[in-house]
């Protein structure tokens, strides 16, 4: 990162303003910079420099007074919501937002956990890195069963862009040849353990419609020149990903898109710049820039640009659009349809089971694998729907050997007790569901009529809940996992369906959806606002349905695709 790329005040009119520097913002910046466009990447949080700003990486737990467990009192004061995230602890808390600065409200009787990562790189530093393609079954589900509107794109539109982003990002995956889970351009997959391989064989025999594969993730297992020249090398299986990875072994803005953008000489970065709203020119019916409030001193400034990419996260981008009001758009920019803020979705992780796997005492593994076993959605078309619900779910998990953590409450004292805790425990397995959430108009974020945050931006108000379809699906999912484990002969099976509110999958999508019809959607098939052609929204806000798979790979593909469309239009003088 060069200091001369850092912008605070600037009168320059950039070709492109990219709002947000996470997975999508990094991609938008990279593509625009590589095409020769002068690009300003606007980030509301602080700079985080690759390697230099990973202060907790490589430290043993004994180097923390509370051994990496976050301090309860401090956490409850500052990060009561953030601490609900599985990746939150004393080694990662600096990459999560401070809830006191980031207030929002929820409709009575509803809850929503909004996880924030406001720094350069955004949630690309904290994501779980599982990467799966959507299939045509996902992209046609709305049209086929009538929930939500049809996606304006099909798999053939996305496939070349999946190829493109996967080649650059680096995906460890097997080639599974499943219609419901199209293969990726991949590097060697991570290995399964012996009990997992046997479970895979059992499931193949007894549940032939539910094939189990190894998970796919954005980790390098066989880096090519593309990766090496950016300083990225093979995954070391340390499991320190959420602290930042100096090996650059997993895809993040810092490891991948940012250095690629920076080396073009076209990248400028405006950190600590909270985008308040977009500046709309009534006469041109175009956006001409963004209004920014300084993250630290609350002073105001503007940045000007010919094209704007909103990559501020699903909820962040929608909040900015809602807060960009004008004579033409009194209810939010590009909101002539009135659907902006509606059809918010997340994934539903509310079913899981765990068990003990007898035997395999002589089996072990080495390293901490960044993925696991995966059973893609097997209700992937209407003819395969369960009679009690529409759409479906995937199952993901893994088997490991227990350790002292699982044995610390067993009876005993003295040398024998001490010795027993140094030994690997029995094999245990965990599998959880990842269910689709239907697009429903009632699931909405809006601007609070009176409450604002410290930057003077109206707070988001959430009204989002699971429907009966999702709750029923989770009951079924828990039963399915349990049945598989029973057939496999596992012991001490614990299965349950829970009712945690939406948000914690951190797969929020929808709220500024794409569509063919401008009366029903905010964005066209190139993630371009129907109403304001020089504004693109390429993050999860654009989704028409949640699908079942982890969405980040699709964020990347949609962004790269939209960026190339915008670049072509720009160079042809049409933007």
């Amino acid at each position: 990162m060069q200091d001369n790329n850092i912008v605070q005040q600037s009168d320059q009119e950039f070709d492109v303003l990219v709002v947000g520097s996470g997975i999508t913002g990094g991609w938008a910046a990279k593509e625009c910079c590589e095409a020769g466009l002068k690009t300003l990447l606007i980030e509301r949080g602080r700079l985080v420099e690759h390697r230099k700003d990973y202060p907790t990486e490589g430290k043993g737990p004994w180097q923390y007074p509370t051994r990496t467990v976050a301090d309860n009192l401090l956490t409850m004061q500052h990060q009561a919501i953030q601490q609900q995230c599985y990746a939150f602890n004393d080694t990662t808390k600096h990459f999560f937002g401070n809830d006191r600065d980031l207030p929002y409200s929820t409709e009575d009787g509803t809850e929503f956990s909004w996880i924030r990562a406001n720094q350069l790189g955004g949630k690309s530093l904290l994501w779980a890195r599982q990467t799966f393609r959507l299939s045509d079954y996902d992209l046609t589900a709305n049209a086929k069963d009538g929930h939500g509107i049809d996606w304006p794109i099909r798999y053939k539109d996305l496939a070349p862009w999946y190829d493109y982003v996967e080649t650059f990002a680096g995906i460890a995956a097997a080639r599974d040849n499943l219609p419901q889970l199209p293969d990726s351009i991949s590097q060697p997959a991570f290995e399964l353990t012996k009990p997992e391989l046997d479970f895979q064989a059992t499931v193949a025999e007894h549940f032939p419609d539910k094939p189990m594969v190894v998970g796919r993730c954005a980790h390098l297992t066989q880096p090519s020149q593309i990766h090496l020249e950016l300083g990225r090398v093979t995954c070391q299986a340390r499991s320190e990903c959420y602290r930042g990875c100096s090996f650059g072994a997993y895809f993040s803005t810092q490891s991948a898109t940012l250095p690629a953008a920076a080396r073009t000489g076209n990248l400028h970065i405006a950190p600590n710049s909270v985008v308040h709203s977009l500046i709309f020119d009534e006469s041109k019916q175009r956006v001409t820039g963004v209004r920014v409030v300084d993250n630290d001193n609350l002073s105001q400034r503007e940045y000007r640009g010919k094209i704007v990419f909103l990559c501020a996260s699903t909820l962040g981008s929608t909040q900015i659009l809602l807060n960009s009001t004008s004579k033409s758009f009194p209810n939010g920019l590009a909101n002539s349809s009135g659907v902006l803020g509606r059809y918010l979705m997340d994934h539903n992780y509310n079913a899981w089971a765990s068990a003990r796997i007898p035997g395999y005492e002589q089996e072990y593994y080495r390293g901490r694998r960044p993925t696991g076993i995966y059973i893609p959605n097997f209700h992937f078309e209407p003819s395969r729907y369960h009679k009690d619900f529409v759409r479906g779910y995937a199952l993901a998990g893994g088997a490991t050997r227990g350790s002292w953590q699982g044995m610390s409450q067993q009876d005993g004292f003295g040398e024998a007790f001490k010795q027993s805790l140094t030994q690997a425990g029995p094999w245990q397995i965990w599998m959880g569901a990842q269910g689709e959430m239907l697009p429903r108009a009632d699931n909405q974020v809006s601007l609070h009529p009176s409450k604002k945050d410290k930057w003077g931006i109206p707070q988001l108000h959430f009204n989002c809940r699971w429907s009966d379809n999702e709750l029923t699906m989770m009951q079924h999912a828990a039963e399915t996992i349990k049945r598989m484990m029973q057939v496999a002969g596992f012991e001490d099976i614990q299965a349950q369906a829970t009712q945690a509110p939406p948000g914690l999958a951190i797969h929020e999508v929808g709220s500024a959806r794409m569509g063919q019809d401008p009366k029903q959607s905010v964005l066209n098939k190139f993630n371009q606002c129907h109403d304001v052609p020089n504004v693109f929204v390429t993050d999860g806000a654009s989704f028409c349905s949640s699908g079942v798979v982890n969405p980040s790979l699709t964020f990347m593909a949609l962004t790269a695709r939209a960026a190339h469309y915008a670049i072509d239009q720009f160079k042809a003088g049409r933007l």
Binding site: G58, G60, P61, W62, P65, T66, R67, T68, V69, A70, D71, N72, L73, N89, T91, F190, E191, L192, T193, K194, E196, L197, T221, T234, C235, Q236, A237, R238, S239, E240, E361, Q362, E363, Y364, Y365, R366, G367, R368, R369, R401, S403, W404, Q405, S408, Q409, D411, G412, F413, G414, E415, F417, K418, Q419, L421, T422, Q423, A424, G425
Partner: protein, 199 residues
């Protein structure tokens, strides 16, 4: 006792006197208390967070009985009891803190009733017998006591196995595995990985 240990013992008495009062410091040196007191000596400047001095002495003994020094250091050498005191203060709700104090008090009370001795003055075997009774909800201990004790013991174990000694000497420390192998003979490793804690 070597001379350096004697000096340590003297300074220990002095230090403990400052911390707990002279009477308490002397009572520490009865029974099974020397090694326990030595552990205090390493950390005299520390402030107790949750526990009273008496509760802390009992907790130190429990740590020593649970994870003793063998050919590798034990819970005392890693100050696991101090860890528990600090961890309860910073990472647990008031109810858990109260429950931890109450079970230590109950151990003290039951020892006095059963042995007519302070727990800290009892022999190692007497202490162990009492704790075994506690783990099996006997000798005046009920299921709730057992549960509270197990929670406290688990914290001692946590403190020990997340210490540098625990992670690097007791377990297979492998901070940079270099990649993932799905099948390795357990015998070739011989003990559990300390893991990239937390996972």
């Amino acid at each position: 006792m070597t001379s350096s240990l004697a000096i340590q013992r003297r300074s220990l008495l002095k230090g403990l006197g400052v911390l707990f009062g002279v009477q308490a410091a002397q009572s520490l040196l009865g029974g099974n208390a020397l090694s326990v007191a030595m552990a205090f000596a390493q950390s005299v400047p520390r402030q107790l967070q949750i526990f009273s001095a008496e509760q802390m002495r009992v907790l130190a003994i429990i740590g020593d009985l649970t994870i003793p020094q063998t050919d590798t250091p034990g819970a005392l050498a890693t100050n696991s009891h101090w860890f528990v005191d600090n961890q309860l203060k910073h990472c647990f709700a008031t109810e858990t803190q109260t429950s931890a104090k109450q079970i230590l008090d109950k151990i003290i009370t039951r020892a006095q009733a059963l042995l007519s001795l302070p727990f800290t003055d009892a022999t190692k075997q007497q202490q162990l017998t009492l704790l075994q009774a506690l783990e099996s909800s006997q000798s005046g201990f009920d299921g709730a006591d057992t549960k509270a004790f197990k929670q406290l013991k688990a914290l001692l174990v946590f403190g020990f196995f997340t210490s540098k000694v625990g992670m690097t000497q007791l377990l297979q420390y492998d901070p940079v595995p270099g990649g993932f192998k799905g099948s390795v003979a357990y015998a070739s490793v011989g003990k559990a990985y300390s893991g990239g804690f937390p996972f």
